[in-house]
């Protein structure tokens, strides 16, 4: 056995309370630890939602935890005890026998050193190569991870590479000393689906060729099903279930695993409501209310060849135009959802923000027309825009960033009503805010709290409630569920659907995740490099894609364990 973990518990010391050290258990609960094994030449996946302790588990293997962490239990790597290993012993192992790849390639690479220098560093340090040999080896490695023109890339700085290329460099660095165990902590989460597919294939290929083992950490069962041999499902610091991948997907034993599989929006079929983990665990399924949409509903927003450019400074006086959106046309009907999909940099967010007029007016020219209530959104002065703002609202991707950290929830919700004169007085507005909180599934006690006291899903609910204070007609949802865990995602998506059915809201749903778009949208716009490459109803796009790019996008979506007999329902 290459690595075995037995009864591992990790706790963080969080200051003192009444003279006692306060400990927060990250892994293990109440004296019960976790255990799993990584055999040679095998990929083991740790799956769980945020806060399940999966990353802490992985980082405790080579003790990359902060100083206030306390580890107990046994971790044995090739017969060596890693819990009691000294700092210098661990340093010899790190990068050499055990290597790591992290989630954010942009922040994991040092921005002031060239790629070549960063790859050769472990080679010179661990393998005692000369710098000339190390450079040669670095070039070979970059070639192996599939980076074109490896020789030229050695002299490049990290910011000159795309996200996928950066992750390839990180993998090359990890492979430099031929590790026997590769710890990959969410290596593809920050990447586009198509790039994610390439990286996953690369990792699988490299694992075969180098005969190494991999500990793969992910929240995404779809990814895990494709790459892992063995799956460990974690929740709240404990292992809920572990076993070979086929068994986990085809015949899950644990209720939580079953729920996790069921809550994923899938490409396979379209359902009016998603299962929510709590429902699934409780065994109560809510009756699906199917609301038939009126295809002749009035058009709310009609866009004709909307385009948006940015000025890029060149030299002292020069500037060139960068076309971020090149002519998008669509019409959005009341109560309907327009999905906008594409990879990062495709201009989908720019399109949404252009309709909301949230760009710097001097940043670059806009073109085309976007009619809302007979008026062109793109031409209105900011004074004329103010009453329109009330009717078109936006929910941003990151609920941690989109709420003012110094405002209580009450202040956040009352402010828009004060600006637009909704409600009679302060008390009336506060009552409305309380009612809206109830509507998004939070109670009145939330009013006096600050955003940091809520979880990601709750914050996104607050952001949605803020939009609803103004009774909008159109909501722009800019990757509104991308930062959320699977189970929370399902809750928020259901909430959005319910609100749409009830209030007749029209959504512009911007996402990179086709499975989520399939659940939400009636019509889909596929964007690439600022241009709309395909535009059709959701069924047509997903079942009969016309464009090569759309097919590639759909093909890249992780499908879970394909050997499984039936897709989970």
């Amino acid at each position: 056995m290459l690595l075995s973990v037995e009864n591992l518990r990790v706790a963080f010391r969080m200051g003192r309370e009444n003279g006692q050290v306060r400990r927060v258990e990250a892994v293990g609960r109440g004296g019960v630890g976790i255990g799993f094994e990584v055999p040679e030449n095998t990929t083991v996946a740790l799956v769980g939602e945020s806060g399940s302790g999966k990353s802490v588990t992985a980082m405790s293997i080579i003790n990359l935890l902060p100083d206030n962490a306390e580890r107990t239990g046994t971790i044995t790597f090739e017969g060596r005890d890693l819990i009691h290993a000294s700092g210098s012993e661990l340093r010899r192992l790190r990068g050499r026998a055990i290597a790591c790849v992290f989630q954010e390639p942009m922040t994991s690479l040092n921005p002031v050193f060239t790629v070549g220098r960063q790859i050769t560093e472990p080679l010179v340090q661990h393998l005692k190569l000369s710098s000339r040999q190390a450079l040669q080896k670095a070039e070979d490695l970059l070639n192996e991870v599939g980076l074109p023109e490896p020789k030229r890339r050695l002299a490049a700085y990290p910011h000159e590479l795309s996200g996928g290329q950066q992750q390839r460099v990180m993998i090359a660095m990890a492979l430099a000393c031929e590790p026997r165990l590769l710890i990959a902590d969410e290596p593809t989460t920050a990447l586009d689906v198509t790039v994610q597919r390439q990286i996953l294939e690369l990792l699988a290929r490299l694992k075969e060729r180098h005969r190494m083992s991999m500990l793969f950490i992910s929240h995404d069962l779809g990814v895990v099903g494709e790459i892992a041999d063995h799956v460990v499902v974690m929740r709240q610091g404990l292992v809920r279930e572990q076993g070979p991948v086929a068994g986990i997907f085809a015949n899950p034993q644990d209720a939580y695993t079953k729920a996790l599989l069921a809550c994923r929006p899938t490409l396979g079929q379209r359902r009016p409501r998603l299962m929510v983990i709590d429902d699934h665990l409780a065994g109560t399924a809510r009756a699906d209310l199917t609301v038939v949409k009126d295809p002749a509903a009035p058009i709310v927003v009609e866009a004709h060849a909307v385009s948006k450019s940015f000025w890029i400074r060149r030299g002292v006086f020069g500037r060139t135009e960068f076309k971020a959106v090149k002519g998008a046309s669509f019409s959005l009907r009341k109560g309907h959802t327009l999905g906008v999909v594409g990879e990062s940099g495709s201009g989908k967010t720019t399109l949404g923000l252009a309709l909301l007029r949230l760009h710097d007016p001097n940043g670059g020219p806009t073109g085309g027309r976007a009619l809302f209530d007979g008026r062109d959104l793109l031409k209105l002065s900011s004074r004329e825009m103010l009453p329109i703002r009330r009717r078109i609202q936006v929910v941003f991707q990151n609920p941690y960033a989109s709420l003012n950290p110094r405002f209580t929830v009450a202040q956040t919700l009352v402010e828009p009503m004060t600006i637009h004169g909704v409600g009679r007085d302060g008390d009336d507005r506060l009552a409305r805010a309380t009612a809206l909180l109830g509507r998004v599934g939070l109670d009145g006690s939330a009013l006096n709290k600050y955003p940091h006291e809520f979880s990601g899903g709750q914050r996104q609910r607050i952001a949605i409630a803020r939009c609803l204070t103004l009774d909008p007609e159109v909501l722009v949802l800019d990757e509104a569920v991308s930062a959320l865990d699977v189970s929370v995602q399902a809750q928020v998506l259901n909430l959005l659907k319910d609100l749409q059915d009830e209030l007749g809201l029209a959504y512009i749903f911007i996402s990179h995740d086709l499975a989520v778009v399939r659940f939400m949208a009636d019509e889909v716009l596929v964007m690439k490099d600022g241009a709309v490459v395909e535009q059709a109803s959701t069924e047509d796009i997903l079942d009969r894609p016309q464009q090569e790019y759309t097919r590639r996008l759909i093909g890249a979506i992780p499908r879970g364990y394909t050997g499984a007999a039936a897709a989970p329902t």
Partner: protein
């Protein structure tokens, strides 16, 4: 969490508790910080002292020469009388100079006139509580009176500089573009001129006095805080929460002052406490150069500049009195701003 939609939501529930205002919450958090609270009490003490001395109830008689010159502090006891070794009396008869002294005939007349006048030597005490200066003035009274001017100058000038720096920095950082460029030019002009020269220039225009010192220091000292606030605003202006505020229709002013400013207030508070210390010291230099407060006023700065000549003679008490007052005030001030920063940050709630 699944029963998301109940038709009437929380509307039927009990009336929502009145939201606690930001400032009330901040005060509640401040109160739980014991160090900050003590520092605030010390500051309040200083405030009281300044108010009383401004009204003339305390230390109004600081100019009275109560003690002997350089009277030592009471606990040291009176100074040893200087035993001057008298020169040995000359031997031999005294020379009669009356033949050559042209004033000799008037000596008698003068002695008679002097006898008619009565001179009273006021009783000068040998020791004073904190010692006396070279004129025998009470150092404690001087330090209290000096606090009035120093604190006024330091705090007011720091407030002026912080206000200018914050407003300009916020505008430059938030709007950028032409406004930002123009303000950058202004900043460059101010930093390109050596600061002492700039202070001279302003002093030449503003003249002498406490108000002009405040004005001079405020108008020249805003550059550092401007830069920091501008950088923070550039960072925050593109954050999602500011975008979200724009999306709900919040005006530019509301976004700058209601949304972003509370989020960067820590920079402001830290700079404010640094500036107060710096300006109390700057007033010393200005006074030393003859551009500060007038000679019939006293500040900690003038006390310090007097102290340097006294120190050579071993009279250390004026220096100690001025620096002790200054150190206590400055420490209390920075502790209070520190506590304020923590109190205004809701994220730290519950950690103290």
């Amino acid at each position: 969490m699944s029963a998301v939609l109940t038709a009437d939501g929380g509307a039927t529930g009990a009336k929502a508790p009145r939201s606690e205002s930001t400032w009330l919450g901040a005060w509640r958090r401040f109160r739980s910080n014991r160090v900050g609270l003590w520092a605030l009490i010390v500051l309040a003490g200083f405030g009281l002292l300044v108010a009383l001395s401004a009204l003339g109830w305390v230390a109004g008689d600081w100019q009275t020469e109560k003690g002997v010159a350089n009277a030592p502090p009471t606990f040291m006891g009176p100074a040893q009388p200087q035993v001057a070794s008298a020169a040995a009396a000359a031997s031999g008869p005294l020379l009669d100079l009356s033949s050559v002294d042209p004033l000799a005939p008037r000596y008698r007349e003068w002695t008679e006139r002097a006898a008619k006048l009565e001179t009273t030597e006021p009783h000068k005490v040998d020791t004073l509580p904190f010692g006396g200066d070279r004129l025998g003035r009470d150092v404690l009274a001087k330090a209290i009176k000096g606090a009035q001017i120093s604190i006024l100058v330091g705090v007011l000038a720091a407030l002026v500089a912080t206000l200018i720096g914050t407003v300009l920095g916020a505008l430059a950082g938030f709007f950028g573009g032409k406004i930002g460029d123009a303000l950058e030019w202004l900043y460059n002009v101010f930093t390109a001129i050596p600061s002492i020269l700039l202070i001279f220039a302003f002093a030449a225009v503003a003249g002498r006095g406490v108000q002009s010192v405040v004005l001079i220091l405020g108008l020249t000292g805003w550059t550092g805080i401007y830069r920091l606030i501008r950088a923070e605003f550039i960072k925050h202006a593109v954050r999602d929460y500011v975008r979200a505020a724009e999306a709900i229709g919040a005006s530019a002013g509301a976004r700058i002052f209601r949304h972003i400013l509370p989020n960067v207030s820590h920079v402001m508070l830290v700079q404010l406490s640094i500036l107060v210390v710096g300006f109390i010291k700057a007033e010393v230099i200005l006074s030393y150069l003859g551009l500060g407060v007038s000679v019939d006023q006293v500040s900690w700065g003038t006390m310090l500049s007097e102290a340097q000549s006294e120190l050579i003679l071993g009279y250390w008490w004026q220096l100690v009195a001025a620096t002790t007052f200054m150190a206590v005030f400055v420490t209390a001030f920075s502790l209070v701003t520190d506590a304020m920063r923590d109190a205004l940050d809701p994220k730290l709630r519950g950690l103290e």
